[in-house]
């Protein structure tokens, strides 16, 4: 019987049958169904036959139809697996070059991905080790005043008490107090130890964070004034652990404190890392102050188990109205809640109490003042994840690319296998086995590479990571990733190759190579787009960095040595200064705690004489300096004069910077002689103290170039804790030695801590420099992987066209012509990639630059350079293979036919 198309039983049902039915059963079953169908069709007509067929197909969907022949099947697949493995291994060995390219690319990409995954895992793990960490929140203040917004991690002192009393949603409140670095010594000893991370805290500390004391009693520790607790490592600097309790320590050479407990060191991924000394909050004078305008107390709350954070946030929003303004009303005449609100509305000022989850502090709380430890930025995590993702993707793409390219060589193998009875699934399994073998081998390599690269990576990211070799989850993740990867990367070659038609490939045509070639081209374009994008990003980051470094900052940061903790010299400070000035190498010495690089900061509120309305308050930075400060830093005075020791009235003088003058709404010349006061609390107005503006300095960058230059007021003051020494020498180490000698004479047994101002300046841009280094590393990696892929493809291409090249040479083509022919195809792809990635790079990097108040314009040459770089690298990569192929003797390639 001749089967015309319309005589076929319903195709969808037939297809369904073929899908669910195992191969052994299919033939007979389908035969029976067909036979019945044709019978019925003759007897009952098409519709009825179709219907019966469909019902019959559904009816046969029973266990017997699905089953594989038991026993024999298992045995078979086991043998086949061994066979697959053997063949896969032989295949890898027979093409060592491609195997090497494939595995290296994959391993390097995976190692990069692995390191980044570890990094991100660590970043996300912060502060989760505390009991109930999901219920703990910190209160922050966001404040805007006179056009400047400030963010504080520490809040007003009375807030904690108010929450404890009036907020039902909170189970517990813990208050810290910001403390500067502190020198510590035993009362009977005289060697001081410097502790950089000292903080005050109340006795709820232990319950809030679920801490246990190694030594001491939770009930009494931190309760009394002038007591403290230490971490294990801080305690062991002074005593044996079990003897620590009840010992006395002298803080800053003056106040004796009793040790009432020792706790374990905090883990590296907690916000209290490195904090070593905790002073009882009761020890501070202002622990019970009712002033809301000093932000010295970082405050943590633990919500009640049933409470929602929104409830607490609502309470915080009401704090201004219910507590803060009523307090201010006691000394600001005529202030009401309504007038304060109206003022804020008019001026755009605000002061907001906001909560942040403990677990979010590390990634979402950057750039706050009085932050416990330096935090990261969630954006860095995103950028790194993206880079890691790209890297792994590049590696996989590479693998797919090379495998499919090699596949064409194996088209015949597939043809022969198919004629000998291999079915498609067997072939898919074969190819997947191969990719599983490669990917597990390269994963082993990747773990090794990651292990070796770990120290370098730690330096790059400023972390302290280790390979979690003893963590079973790590290995599980590795195995899972290897399996996913082998399926993912092996799937394309497997499914593509198993589709080859045996007749076609055995006849000599390459299956459907043209379609495959197109996919490979896309992949190359994709790879190079990413690489060029990364090149552009790297160039922009570095250009911005060098811009920052070379920008005129308004002060001279070079050749300035900073000595910390000069407080330790006590009343010898002046003599120290004089002795240093007597050194020939020292040009200037200035005493101040406030440097234009990270150091102390404080602010104050001024009112201009005659206008005491709240809206006229202007909040400025407030630094105490000495007469030598301005010449030491080479600040430029644009109006008025510097402080001078000759005018004793200068103690009530003030120097403003241009930003502050602009805030007053006058120009620098007019500012001289204006009267300002900080004394507005005073009830008896006639005794109010005023300060006279005696000079205006040119704006200088005392914050990161991310920010605009803030308003600043400089006044004369003592109590400095840092000394800047301006040097004029080439022999730094010798000069430092001399200064140290003087220091040891003046302040025996006190630590001599010094650094150079420009180093400290550079450390402000650590994040950017880190980003730059990360970019350059991963750009190189991704270029490397992309080049491996291109190299492999070029090699493959040259190999495939070896006869064509031979014939061309015989017919008189020159080496350069052939090289050009072979390279041009690839170059076209790279050029397309350049055009795709340039707008992308431009857009993304502009977004990044927007973070900086002072930034470069992305110039066109960056793109030209990136494009040229990518093209040059790809030319070098491809031409090696092309030239090699072009130089080969045609006799060799042609003699076999």
């Amino acid at each position: 019987m001749n089967h015309k198309r319309d005589q076929h039983p319903p195709r969808f049902a037939d297809r369904f049958l073929r899908w669910f039915c195992s191969e052994e059963v299919l033939e007979t079953l389908q035969g029976d169904l067909y036979e019945l169908y044709f019978q019925r069709r003759k007897k009952l007509g098409k519709f009825s036959a179709d219907l019966h067929f469909v019902l019959d197909v559904l009816d046969t969907c029973r266990p017997f139809a699905l089953r594989q022949k038991s026993g024999r099947r298992f045995f078979n697949s086991n043998i086949m697996f061994k066979n697959h493995m053997k063949l896969a291994w032989r295949n890898l060995k027979s093409q060592p070059f491609f195997t090497f390219l494939n595995m290296t690319g994959l391993a390097v990409g995976m190692a990069g991905g692995l390191l980044i995954a570890l990094f991100i895992y660590d970043e996300l793990s912060f502060d989760k080790m505390f009991a109930d960490s999901d219920r703990i929140y910190r209160v922050n203040i966001d404040m805007r005043n006179s056009g400047e917004t400030n963010y504080y991690a520490a809040v007003s002192g009375p807030l904690a008490g108010v929450i404890r009393q009036d907020c039902p949603h909170v189970e517990m409140v813990t208050r810290f107090r910001v403390v500067q670095r502190t020198l510590l010594r035993k009362v009977e000893g005289d060697e001081n130890v410097k502790e950089n991370h000292v903080i005050g805290v109340d006795s709820t500390f232990f319950d809030m964070f679920g801490l246990e004391l190694l030594v001491g009693d939770k009930e009494t520790a931190l309760k009394e004034p002038n007591t403290l607790i230490l971490t294990r490592s801080a305690a062991e600097k002074h005593f044996k652990l079990n003897e620590a309790l009840g010992q006395s320590l002298l803080l800053n050479n003056t106040h004796p404190y009793t040790v009432t407990g020792v706790i374990d060191d905090f883990p590296k991924n907690s916000f209290l890392r490195d904090h070593s000394v905790f002073i009882a909050l009761e020890s501070f004078d202002n622990a019970h102050s009712d002033a809301w305008n000093n932000f010295n107390f970082p405050t943590f709350v633990k919500l009640a188990p049933t409470a929602q954070i929104d409830d607490f946030q609502k309470f915080l929003t009401g704090v201004n109205e219910n507590y803060l303004i009523p307090w201010a009303m006691t000394f600001v005449p005529g202030l009401t809640v309504e007038s304060a609100k109206a003022d804020d509305k008019k001026t755009g000022n605000f002061m907001k109490f906001r909560s942040i989850a403990l677990e979010d502090i590390h990634l979402y709380s950057r750039d706050r003042q009085d932050e416990f430890s330096p935090n990261s930025d969630i954006e860095d995590v995103y950028i790194l994840s993206l880079i890691g993702f790209f890297l792994v993707l590049l590696a996989i793409v590479n693998f797919m690319n090379l495998s499919t390219a090699c596949a064409l060589k194996r088209a015949r193998e597939v043809g022969v296998r198919k004629t000998l009875g291999a079915n498609r699934y067997g072939l898919i399994r074969q190819f997947l086995t191969e990719s599983a073998l490669i990917s597990s081998l390269s994963f082993l390599m990747a773990v090794l590479i990651a292990y070796l690269a770990m120290p370098f990576f730690n330096e790059l990211t400023g972390k302290n990571l280790e390979m979690p070799f003893y963590n079973p989850i790590f290995w599980l993740a590795i195995v899972a990733a290897a399996i996913i990867l082998s399926i993912f990367s092996g799937s394309y070659p497997a499914f593509f190759m198993s589709r080859f038609m045996p007749v076609k490939v055995l006849k000599g045509s390459d299956g459907n190579s043209s379609g495959n070639g197109r996919v490979r081209n896309y992949l190359v374009v994709f790879q190079f787009s990413i690489s060029v994008f990364l090149i552009v990003s790297t160039l922009v980051v570095f250009q911005q960095l060098s811009y920052i470094q070379s920008k005129d900052l308004g002060f001279q940061k070079d050749q300035i040595l900073v000595v910390d903790d000069v407080y330790a010299a006590g009343n010898q400070m002046r003599s120290l200064k004089q002795q240093l000035l007597d050194l020939g190498e020292v040009r200037n010495v200035s005493l101040s705690s406030y440097l234009p690089t990270p150091s102390d900061r404080s602010g104050t509120t001024f009112f201009l004489k005659g206008s005491f309305k709240a809206e006229n308050a202007f909040i400025v930075g407030h630094w105490e300096i000495d007469c030598d400060y301005i010449p030491t830093l080479d600040l430029e005075i644009v109006a008025g004069r510097n402080f001078s020791e000759e005018f004793y009235t200068d103690s009530s003088g003030v120097i403003l910077n241009e930003s502050a003058v602009a805030m007053l709404g006058v120009n620098p010349g007019e500012a001289i002689g204006l009267q300002l006061t900080r004394d507005f609390h005073r009830q008896d107005k006639e005794h109010m103290k005023f300060m006279k503006v005696i000079g205006v300095v040119k704006n200088f960058h005392f914050e990161s170039l991310r920010n605009d230059i803030g308003a600043l007021s400089l006044v004369l003051g003592g109590g400095a804790n840092r000394m800047m020494v301006k040097l004029q020498t080439k022999d730094f180490s010798n000069t430092v030695k001399q200064i140290r000698k003087i220091w040891e004479k003046v302040a025996p047994h006190q630590p001599f801590n010094y650094y150079f101002l420009d180093e400290s300046f550079n450390s402000t841009y650590k994040a950017e420099q880190r980003l730059g280094r990360i970019f350059i590393t991963f750009t190189i990696l991704s270029l490397f992987i992309a080049c491996l892929g291109l190299f492999g493809l070029a090699a493959f291409n040259a190999d495939k066209r070896v006869k064509e090249i031979g014939i061309r040479k015989v017919l008189g083509a020159s080496v350069s012509q052939i090289t050009y022919r072979l390279s041009a195809d690839f170059l076209r792809l790279v050029v397309i990639a350049v055009f795709i990635s340039i707008p992308l790079g431009w857009y993304v990097m502009n977004r990044w630059l927007e973070d900086f108040s002072y930034r470069i314009e992305i110039s066109w040459w960056i793109f030209v350079l990136a494009a040229a770089l990518a093209i040059a690298i790809s030319i070098v990569t491809v031409s090696y293979q092309s030239i090699k192929a072009a130089m080969a003797s045609p006799v060799k390639s042609l003699r076999s036919e």
Binding site: E27, G31, L36, T60, A65
Partner: protein, 109 residues
Amino acid sequence: MKIGAFEELVLLAVGSLTENAYGVSIKELLAEKTGKNPSIGALHSALYRLEDKGCLISTEGGATSERGGRRKKYYTLTARGRDVLIEISKLRLEFSKNIQGLNLSWDES
């Protein structure tokens, strides 16, 4: 050896079709003898079960065009299948002797 009632019928049909027992012919015979049209799924399912139990063996025949070029699978009764049938019949006979007015016997059939 336990076989179900439907399996028993299939076994009987295969036995009586001798050389020509394959899916469609068995189905037709059963329809003719019992007056009920067995479902093709149930039939194949039973055939595979009987084959597993060793009551039937199958051989593949040539392809024919009315089956769209698919081969037939011919079934033959094995000695074991034969024993099973005998056993069942004996059981029935045994029982029927005890039932008044029911008179079955081998020899006559």
